[in-house]
Subunit: 144 residues, 2 copies
């Protein structure tokens, strides 16, 4: 029934280093066999998968703790407890805020790009009038 750290890591698609790190952080403690080896069971795999899923969502390790504790308290899902739901909600707020900021930045950068492109177009057009097209600025850009 039990497995050692290498197998657990492989089954969760992660590394032994990561598991030891989680243990050091108190997130995924391990039992020890007679020889000092860490021993895990299927429940640990479930905990670990919960952590990894949330990590993939961009949750901090600390934010996964309520989910892990909820599972260890015997609940069917990591998000069966209010503390986990609270983390979900907080994360949604953070995501919305971040997405909003990034969209604002995206708009600003887009405007800057358009403005700069218009400025270069005007320079090019001006150059047509006097004495033929002259190069404007070739600092490292478009070549190749």
């Amino acid at each position: 029934m039990g497995m050692r750290i290498g197998e657990l890591a492989a089954r969760a698609g992660t590394t032994t280093r990561t598991l030891r790190y989680y243990e050091a952080r108190g997130l995924l403690p391990a039992r020890r066999g007679h020889n000092g080896y860490r021993t895990y069971d299927e429940d640990d795999l479930k905990l670990l998968r919960q952590i990894r899923t949330l990590q993939d969502f961009g949750f901090d390790l600390e934010e996964t703790r309520p989910f892990v504790e909820c599972l260890r308290a015997g609940h069917p899902e990591g998000d069966s407890c209010p503390a986990s739901l609270a983390v979900y909600r907080r994360k949604l707020g953070e995501l919305d805020a971040l997405i909003g900021e990034l969209q604002a930045v995206r708009a600003q950068v887009g405007q800057q790009l358009e403005r700069a492109e218009r400025a270069r177009a005007e320079l090019a057009a001006d150059a047509e009038v006097p004495g033929g097209p002259e190069p404007v600025c070739e600092l490292g850009g478009d070549h190749r």
Copy 2:
């Protein structure tokens, strides 16, 4: 006309440490006075403001380099050069990709939250039938 590092930092709303860091990175070299003090002028302030603006947009320091070099080459704006426009475009792509990922995560987390809330609602409803409402799980959550 010249100013020392403290004044430049204050006028740009940053710190002396930051300016020394930029200099170490070769981004904002400084002349030196007779006593070894760094000396800056209004052009340096302009360079610095360009860097800070881009940093606020989330650009890496290295990504600001083409803008700085463009200004130092005598162009009116940091984005008057093709290399700068290339950075703009690359950044737009990165932003779009990132925003897309975050929106996908947001949707997933939203679904998880709804599912978990429904599950709890069903548990609460089930509890109504037998012998009155019983507490479901109070691990650290909603209190206060």
